[in-house]
Amino acid sequence: MVSPREAVASVPDPEIRVITIDELGILRAVDEHPATGRVTVTITPTYTGCPAMDMIRADIRRALAAAGHPDAEVRTVYSPAWSTDWISESGRAKLAAAGIAPPAPVRSGPVVPLTLAVRCPRCGSPETEQISRFGSTACKALWRCRSCSEPFDHLKAL
């Protein structure tokens, strides 16, 4: 029997299916009520308008139901705000393996509109350029490698 935590942590992100919601850092807590056994899951969105949130809630309920917790509650919190710094090391490695350049660490202090070099996830070259600041999902930008010419997604630092 898997624990509620294990069941929820293994739910894949619906838009970036190579990593789990735990690795993405949007799973904040899984609590089991000591008396009733009722499970409460707390998640936070990557972006406020993330259209995948409803599907993520449904996937969490389904995973918990399969693990023997059919009446779980899923709460959504906005504070503290999600940061790409919460993506785990294993998550970053899986993103890169799937051709998605992982985000650079978020710098503290005032935000300077500055473009950092992003390594091509296919050939490793730092000779890359941004095609579009906004990509296929809210959390990604579209880049291109000048060495191997391949376009690729880059998860934006937030």
Binding site: Y47, Y78, S79, F134, L158
Partner: protein, 241 residues
């Protein structure tokens, strides 16, 4: 006008109407990447609108949720600033609108993040990160068009001149609000002035300052926008995908 309810409603309406206008560009933007970009910015605005309107509904405690507030109010009940309801115009006008709106929303959300109201502080902390990208993106286009060809310069200057009068309403006093909008003007100027200068654009002189949006007095453009935005919900109450 007073208190957190009116403020949450005003900010939520700003974001909602901005999202609706930006969404009109979908499939019509000048290049495919820009189509995706404007849709993404619209999605961020819609996300902020949902949080703010949901919270406004809870503060009002009259049983109205985000859908009731978005789809079942008439123009006089909307509290958005006039800037967001203006038609998109050509691409330069849309860029000017997004540039000024995000240069206002970024310091606004940053200030909100530090306010005493916990819910508004959480929303501000979340939305400010997204506003940073919006301002960056709009600034890029202002520079590119302003310092581009003679024609793009002419259009960008015309757009800045056209939208500028509507900026002043954003910084009008808001009695009872957790953040005093008059304190945001300095940050707005600090974001806008260097970009205009680099774009070889003249900062318009302050003069005519239309207002009224925060009191429910709108341009005629809002009614047409609401008609399109609300028709499905009004025709099929409670419809779900």
């Amino acid at each position: 006008m007073n208190g957190p309810f009116d403020f949450a409603l005003a900010l939520g309406d700003d974001a909602l109407i901005a999202a609706q206008r930006l969404g009109e560009w979908t499939t019509r933007a000048p290049e495919m990447e820009e189509d995706v970009a404007l849709a993404n910015v619209a999605l961020d605005q819609l996300g902020a609108a949902r949080l703010l309107l949901t919270y406004a509904g809870e503060l009002e405690a009259a049983g109205r949720d985000e859908d009731a507030l978005a789809y079942l109010r008439d123009d006089r009940e909307f509290r958005n600033c006039l800037l967001v309801e203006l038609p998109n115009g050509d691409f330069a006008v849309t860029v000017a609108k997004l540039f000024f709106l995000s240069a206002y929303q970024l310091p606004l959300y940053a200030a909100l993040a530090g306010c005493a109201d916990e819910r508004l502080a959480a929303i501000g902390a979340k939305a400010r990160k997204e506003s940073t990208y919006h301002l960056d993106h709009a600034s890029l286009w202002v520079r590119r068009l302003g310092d581009g060809t003679a024609e793009s310069h002419r259009r960008m200057q015309a757009a800045v001149d056209q939208v500028w009068p509507y900026v002043h309403e954003l910084f009008a006093p808001f009695p009872g609000a957790p953040v005093d909008p008059t304190t945001l003007r300095a940050a707005f100027d600090a974001a806008v002035d260097p970009v205009l200068a680099e774009a070889t654009l003249a900062r318009p002189a302050d003069g005519w300052a239309p207002a009224g949006g925060r009191d429910g007095l709108h341009t005629e453009h809002l009614s047409y926008l609401l008609t399109e935005m609300q028709v499905l919900h009004r025709a099929h109450p409670g419809a779900k995908w």
